[in-house]
């Protein structure tokens, strides 16, 4: 699975702004589309359910009490340590960092 950062102003979305190396996920892969330009964040779980979450700024409210049904827990390896990771927290931190760095605010993160 990779994370791609896409400029949502680019209607054709031909080239991602950034594309991560493979994240090495070893579980059923969830697809998460986070469109920072819109107030609604859509998360598609690996069961195919669509979840509409609150505004990005309010996403932090999910932490630390992320409800079970919204959790996107996957296994992630760091060296010899394998840990279960809730992607919504990781993506919240990433989105915060992106906004802090003043990256293109019209972007979407796509995990697929």
């Amino acid at each position: 699975m990779k994370i791609r950062l896409i400029d949502t102003n680019d209607e054709e979305m031909q080239e991602p702004l950034l594309e991560s190396p493979s994240l090495g996920l070893d579980r059923a892969e969830p697809a998460i589309v986070a469109d920072w330009a819109t107030p609604i964040m859509q998360i598609k779980t690996w069961q195919g359910n669509q979840l509409e979450l609150s505004r990005l700024e309010q996403l932090a409210a999910l932490i630390p009490d992320t409800s079970e049904e919204n959790r996107q827990v996957i296994s992630w390896s760091f060296g010899d340590q394998e840990i279960e990771v809730d992607l919504s927290l990781v993506l919240t931190l990433l989105s915060r960092d992106m906004l802090m760095l003043g990256k293109n605010k019209q972007f979407a993160l796509v995990l697929e």
């Binding site: 991560s20 990771v85 960092d97």
Partner: protein, 640 residues
């Protein structure tokens, strides 16, 4: 191996200053995998303090720690960011500010897998040294920069100043531990003479004139000249000067250096840091184990508190107070458990209360953390462990009521049990100790030593024990009468306290005399014992290589008294490492003929019914090493 060990859970993270508990926020530590005891993903949400100035100071500290550890990205000028992401080889030259604000480490991380030469000018090392010396000088005067606001701001500023000296050095250590080779660079000799001679390129004079206009001139100039020299050597690759100092950045740009200028971000609305995280420029995931985060946090605040949400119990982790111990810790010369951990009772509090701003600070005047009042007469030590056993197994009010009032008072003061309604319940700490004690057997010598060492921290929390420890000195033994007089205790009471302290390895009580001890890490205790045995044999001018073990014990009392558990673990360690042989070659007649009374002490050991408290005769040789006679030890390394 990580020094701070913690279990998954929802904690309130804080620190203690003077008479106040300061809570920073809620730390959620998830298990690495479901139903695992190992720590995995974690997040820390900061609270607010309801005061703009304090909040601002706190934010600055949080952001700088987070950036230094890579948990929040620093800003880089755009062309530097492009260079970092490019696959072309580059050279990065650090300045002190870039090490302190984390930008150098973040730049290096973006270069993972790409050819990169790392260089640190000598001026940076000199500044680290200067900060350390200045810190010592300030400590002596004990007068930090005085604040006009309030004590809290004073404390934060003091912490910020203290952090400078360790943060930069720790940044360099982290880079080296990550396998980076850091080159030491300096300006060419003529440049040092030219620019540095006025002030000798050392910083001694700068110390006294740090407030003068342009006091950074020499420092910046020497860094620029070191970078210039590097550019001459590496003419084929771009040399970037990484700095968070705006004035230096402008000057470097003027002199046509490639400047990797960086600055810290503003604290965002989402006041959360955590790990794993994705580096926003490379989109590569990283993970900082929570233990490493806590350790860095500890070095910043000198003590940190972790309280499980909703519980009235708190762990306090503290840096060693002595300068020598800290230096050894930094030099990796001390065992990992050198960070002191205490567990004690505190006001019940939840993470939500802290995050809602209800409990950012709590006055500790009503709940002192330094000592707990208990009856002056201590119960026999084994009764404490038996009492703990009984409470752990008690299912009815009647069963827990069987514990006598003095034992109950001591167990509560130790934080091992707590009163819930009319019954006594085990606390987390009590459970932890009880479970560990149950695992002990006659042959688990090291675990037994570790258990007593751990539990003795709580014993020292008792008021009479603390007074006792303050009165005793390391260099001399003291008799009971004198101690009783000094502390205003009756003889019976002082004896009960001495027996308690002796059982938990806080002192050695032998033939009516008491010696104060200090817990020594195993390698140190083993070395002390071995050297004492060798010296003793030389002094005795003995042909036999065997040295009586009780003689070694009593000889150590004169220089570095070791408690019985510490001594036993040290001998066991030496035996395990093959540095000594043990034997039982001293007939009782010889002992009697020498007119010795032997070394007989009470000990607290695991037994069939939970706990036993026999009188140990070291000379009998049947206690130190399970299954081996150990009347004498024979040092094997000494072949002379």
């Amino acid at each position: 191996m990580l020094s701070v060990q913690i279990k998954p859970g929802c904690y309130i993270l804080g620190s203690q200053r003077a008479n106040q508990q300061v809570n920073f926020g809620g730390l959620v530590i998830n298990p690495a995998e479901q139903s695992s005891d190992k720590t995995g993903q974690w997040s820390l949400k900061f609270c607010t303090f309801g005061d703009a100035d304090i909040d601002s100071q706190m934010r600055q500290i949080f952001v700088s720690i987070a950036c230094r550890l890579g948990l929040m990205p620093v800003h880089f000028v755009e062309r530097f960011e492009k260079a970092l992401l490019s696959p072309e080889p580059i050279c990065l030259v650090a300045d002190t500010s870039s090490l302190f604000n984390g930008s150098f480490e973040q730049a290096v991380r973006l270069r993972t897998g790409k050819p990169t030469h790392l260089a640190v000018p000598d001026q940076v090392y000199m500044e680290i040294q200067r900060q350390r010396e200045r810190s010592g000088r300030n400590k002596a005067s004990s007068k930090p920069v005085k604040s006009h606001k309030n004590e809290m701001l004073d404390w934060l500023r003091e912490r910020r100043f203290q952090r400078l000296q360790v943060a930069t050095a720790r940044a360099l250590r982290r880079l080296k531990q990550a396998g980076m080779i850091i080159y030491f660079i300096r300006p060419p000799q003529p440049m040092v003479r030219y620019f540095g001679s006025e002030r000798g390129s050392s910083t001694a004079e700068e110390l006294t004139s740090s407030n003068e206009d342009g006091s950074n001139y020499h420092r910046d100039r020497l860094i620029l000249e070191a970078a210039r020299n590097q550019r001459v050597i590496f003419s084929h690759i771009p040399v970037w000067l990484v700095t968070g100092d705006a004035k230096l950045a402008i000057q470097a740009d003027l002199e046509e250096f490639q400047v990797g200028y960086s600055w810290l971000p503003q604290i965002p609305e989402v006041r959360v840091i955590g790990s794993p995280y994705i580096e926003p420029r490379s989109l590569i995931p990283y993970h900082l184990p929570v233990e490493e985060f806590i350790e860095d946090w500890l070095w910043n605040w000198e003590n940190i508190t972790l309280q499980l949400s909703g519980k009235a119990e708190q762990q306090i982790w503290t840096l060693p107070s002595g300068e020598r111990e800290r230096a050894r810790l930094e030099l990796n010369d001390l065992e990992p458990q050198s960070y002191e951990k205490k567990v004690h009772s505190c006001e019940r509090c939840t993470v939500q209360q802290v995050l809602n701003g209800k409990k950012p600070t709590i006055n500790l005047t009503t709940t002192p953390i330094t000592e707990a009042s208990v009856p002056q007469r201590a119960p026999p030590p084994h009764n404490l462990i038996e009492g703990l056993h009984k409470i752990a197994g008690a299912t009815t009010v009647e069963e827990s009521a069987k514990i006598t009032p003095d034992i109950r008072a001591y167990l509560q003061a130790l934080g091992w049990v707590e009163k819930k309604g009319s019954t006594l319940k085990m606390t987390l700490r009590g459970n932890e100790l009880m479970e560990a004690w149950k695992q002990l057997k006659v042959e688990t010598v090291i675990e037994w030593y570790e258990w007593l060492r751990n539990a003795s921290q709580d014993i020292l929390y008792l008021q009479p024990q603390r007074k006792l420890k303050d009165v005793l000195t390391l260099s001399n033994w003291t008799v009971d009468d004198k101690l009783a007089e000094q502390l205003g205790f009756s003889l019976k009471m002082i004896k009960s306290q001495l027996l308690l302290a002796n059982a938990f390895g806080i002192l050695v009580r032998l033939n009516g005399k008491s010696w104060k001890t200090e817990w020594k890490p195993l390698p140190e205790a083993a070395t002390l014992i071995l050297n004492t045995a060798i010296n003793f044999r030389h002094q005795a001018n003995s042909i036999s290589r065997a040295v009586r073990v009780d003689r070694v014990f009593t000889t150590l009392l004169k220089s570095t008294p070791l408690s019985l558990p510490n001594f036993r673990a040290g001998v066991f360690e030496l035996f395990k490492q093959g540095k000594i042989e043990v034997g039982g070659t001293v007939p009782d007649t010889i002992i009697r003929s020498e007119g010795l009374s032997g070394v007989k002490m009470k000990a607290l050991i695991p037994g069939k019914d939970g706990v036993e408290h026999p009188i140990i005769d070291l000379g009998a040789g049947d206690f130190l090493i399970p299954g081996k006679s150990c009347q004498v030890i024979i040092p094997l390394e000494d072949t002379t």
